[in-house]
């Protein structure tokens, strides 16, 4: 019996693999090394290619897409400059464990190493910033490499994978066969937690007087929301979340303490500092969370659940590590805890902290502030929107004032803190979830770092709301200059050098709305939500010199927060 396999060229194989991986969107930009792929793309109908305006934008879009959908985001760029332009985005995805696969063109194999036109050693460049990367040297390895790339990106602790495709590999032909499964002998993520450790953890939680769940992005990666909900609610455990954990548990729930860390809530940080059993669920004890490590939950018995063994004991020593998929582990933990701990006293202490130092911002002076805009946005959307923030003060206010209730509704750049993330990531999020409103929120600084992608959104008529919180300052840097650098506002004032954002909106085919008055906010929100045939740029001209509080100074203990600006007269 003949079982002849079809003969295809590299480009055809490439698309056949994407089809089998269920890829529906690909963010890319053509160039010499990938012309053959683009030639075939012309006739491909199972996926939509989104032409970006800068390859960094393509990677952030793929990240936004992956975070909003839980699927792998895919990028296609050419060799040399196309490839190097992806580096910031790939690093961002690496730091935030976002599953993406980046395909880069490469010069023909015989020219590699010859400083050929548009050659860059992108595999070498991205080795420390990818979960894994590949140079495909033979078209016969192409299909199995793509299969591995998708598997590695999405499994275990997710992350970016880069596949470098020399031009001759794409042009040559071979029999096509797609492997059914992946066998990587050096890579076997552990998903099932150790039973006796889980029993021990359950016992500790049961006996705890002041337990606390510290929830990170891992719970979202693993889709463990239901399990977290059961674990927390059945035992009335307080829940604090990291920047990437927000949305895994409704912030409106009375068990939620909001975010912890540098700009976390006072009560969350007090709870961490005073808890007796800390259960870390898919979080990595990042320095923006822990502050001074020695004093972080210093008297607590620490349980750390993580899929990545290398995360255990990396920043903070823990008493009980459980390596495994946090979704499974939470389910088993919940089942194992037979009787909930008695926590009335702990809850009254926590509520005391909440009363002692609630979130606060100035109001009533007729001036516009980000916090107010966010409260109104929350009220109008009821949390049924994806909020994609950029990096800076507005990003921290978003965590404090926009109460996330749905998983995957909060997207931001955390680990790398990449300004310019929001505009393209919001576009990616929209392609993943066209059914719900997407709000991009940036500062005036970060907005300008990838605003070229507005035209990408406009071309596809995406009704994304691109919101700019314009203080005409690099606000977060200005805040540090005021607090820690002798009020030398060195190169952070943009008041003489910002573009006219309404003209920008117009030039890029977007609607534009601007205001500086709290009175207009509700109207502006209604107007922007009503625009459905194109993007809208909404500029809120806010108080220029506000600061984000509470705050833990860098390297300080999180139990020691600056809660508000000192009055110079005090």
């Amino acid at each position: 019996m003949s079982n002849k396999k079809p003969v295809m060229n590299g480009a055809e194989i490439f698309f056949e693999c994407l089809r089998r991986e269920g890829v529906e969107h690909i963010f890319g930009y053509p160039g010499g090394a990938v012309l053959k792929i683009y030639e075939h793309l012309y006739d491909v109908d199972f996926l939509k290619h989104i032409l970006v305006r800068h390859e960094q934008g393509a990677v952030h879009m793929a990240e936004g897409y992956a975070k909003a959908s839980g699927k792998v985001g895919v990028v296609l760029v050419t060799s040399g400059p196309g490839a190097t332009n992806t580096v910031t985005g790939i690093t961002d995805a690496y730091m935030d464990s976002i599953p993406i696969v980046v395909f880069t063109g490469q010069v023909p194999s015989h020219l590699i190493g010859k400083d050929a036109f548009q050659e860059a050693d992108i595999v070498g460049i991205t080795r420390p910033i990818t979960k894994h990367n590949f140079l495909v040297r033979d078209v016969r390895d192409l299909a199995s490499t793509i299969k591995k790339a998708f598997y590695i990106a999405a499994s275990g602790k997710p992350g970016p994978v880069l596949v470098d495709l020399p031009k001759d590999v794409i042009n040559s032909k071979c029999e096509f066969e797609y492997p059914d499964n992946v066998e990587l002998r050096g890579y076997k993520p552990v998903t099932v937690g150790n039973q006796s450790q889980i029993k021990k953890a359950a016992e500790m939680i049961k006996q705890a007087k002041r337990p606390l769940l510290y929830v990170g992005g891992g719970v979202i990666c693993s889709n463990g929301f239901a399990e977290l909900g059961i674990l927390a609610r059945e035992n009335k455990l307080p829940v604090t979340m990291t920047l990437h954990g927000l949305g895994s548990f409704p912030m409106t729930d009375e068990l939620s303490l909001g975010m912890l860390g540098m700009h976390g809530t006072y009560w969350a940080n007090q709870a961490v500092t005073n808890c007796d059993v800390l259960v870390s669920l898919g979080a990595r004890f990042d320095d923006r969370v822990t502050g001074k490590v020695d004093t972080f939950a210093k008297d607590a018995y620490k349980i750390h659940v993580d899929i990545d063994p290398a995360a255990i004991d990396k920043n903070v020593y823990v008493d009980l590590p459980i390596v495994g998929d946090v979704k499974n582990v939470m389910a088993e933990l919940a089942a194992e805890i037979s009787a909930p701990p008695e926590l009335d006293e702990w809850w009254s202490t926590i509520n005391g902290w909440k009363e002692e130092c609630p979130l606060y911002y100035e109001s009533g002076d007729g001036r516009l502030r980000t916090e107010y805009v966010l409260e109104r946005l929350l009220d109008k959307t009821k949390g049924n929107a994806i909020v994609v923030s950029d990096v800076g003060q507005h990003q921290m206010w978003v965590t404090q004032y926009y109460q996330f209730v749905h998983p995957r509704s909060h997207i931001t750049s955390g680990g790398l803190g990449t300004m310019g993330f929001s505009v393209p990531a919001a576009i990616g999020a929209h392609f993943a979830r066209p059914d719900i409103p997407v709000l991009s929120i940036s500062g005036d600084g970060g907005f300008q770092m990838n605003m070229q992608e507005l035209i990408t959104a406009a071309y596809h008529k995406l009704p994304i709301k691109f919101i700019i919180m314009n203080n005409s300052f690099l606000g977060m840097v200005r805040q540090w200059q005021e607090l820690f650098h002798a009020e030398k506002y060195s190169f952070t004032d943009l008041s003489d050098s910002n573009p006219d954002f309404m003209k920008v909106a117009d030039a890029f085919g977007c609607a534009g709305i601007t205001t500086n008055s709290p009175k207009d906010v509700d109207d502006v929100i209604d107007q922007m939500m009503a625009i459905n045939d194109r993007p809208v740029v909404v500029e809120f001209k806010i108080v220029r010199e506000d600061m984000v509080f509470p705050m833990v100074p860098a390297g300080g203990s999180i139990g020691d927060m600056i809660v508000r600006r000192l009055d110079p007269n005090e």
Partner: protein, 172 residues
């Protein structure tokens, strides 16, 4: 304290680089690395000598394990091992001290592998501290060049091997 780690890894393009990139990126020390094929042509063994406190060692081992190209990582400082290094040491001699140099080298079981009218080159194998000692002893005579392979090590008796599952060839 110096620690020796044995790593079995895929014998393919870039795998070695991943390890060195990891060490430089994470700020881990490397005293020596040696690498070569094993009895299985698709698997290489790397012997790494590093140093750091227990916390750093813990991270080094975990981060090495995390690489997709590494198949097995073993901290040899915790087990009984045979450790060897090979060195070529070229020393200059003057009229009258050649015999002295040669006999010194022979105390370390050094073998003469090259000789000219001004230099003599020895081949030495042994545990790294023996090589250190030989180099120190020969230093006063004028060492011209030293080439060392770096440490290679194996566990005594029971071997550091792949589990059957790991050594299965990849399903294509």
């Amino acid at each position: 304290m110096k620690r020796t780690i044995s790593v079995l890894l895929e014998n393919r393009y870039g795998a070695f680089n991943r390890v060195s990139t990891l060490f430089s990126g994470k700020g881990f020390n490397i005293h020596s690395i040696s690498i070569g094929e094993t009895e299985m042509p698709d698997i290489a063994r790397m012997t790494l000598v590093t140093s750091g406190d227990d916390k750093m060692m813990d991270q080094i081992l975990k981060q090495l394990n995390r690489l997709i190209d590494t198949l097995k990582v073993v901290d040899l400082s915790r087990v009984n091992t045979v450790t060897r290094e090979l060195a070529l040491i070229s020393v200059s001699y003057k009229k009258g001290n050649r015999a002295e140099i040669t006999s010194l080298a022979s105390m370390f079981k050094g073998k003469v592998v090259d000789i000219t009218n001004r230099t003599i080159t020895f081949e030495l194998t042994g545990p790294p501290d023996k090589i250190d000692a030989a180099v120190n002893m020969l230093l006063p005579y004028g060492i011209i060049e030293v080439a060392r392979t770096g440490t290679v090590a194996l566990r005594r008796g029971e071997q550091v091997k792949l589990t059957p599952q790991q050594s299965e060839s990849k399903g294509e």
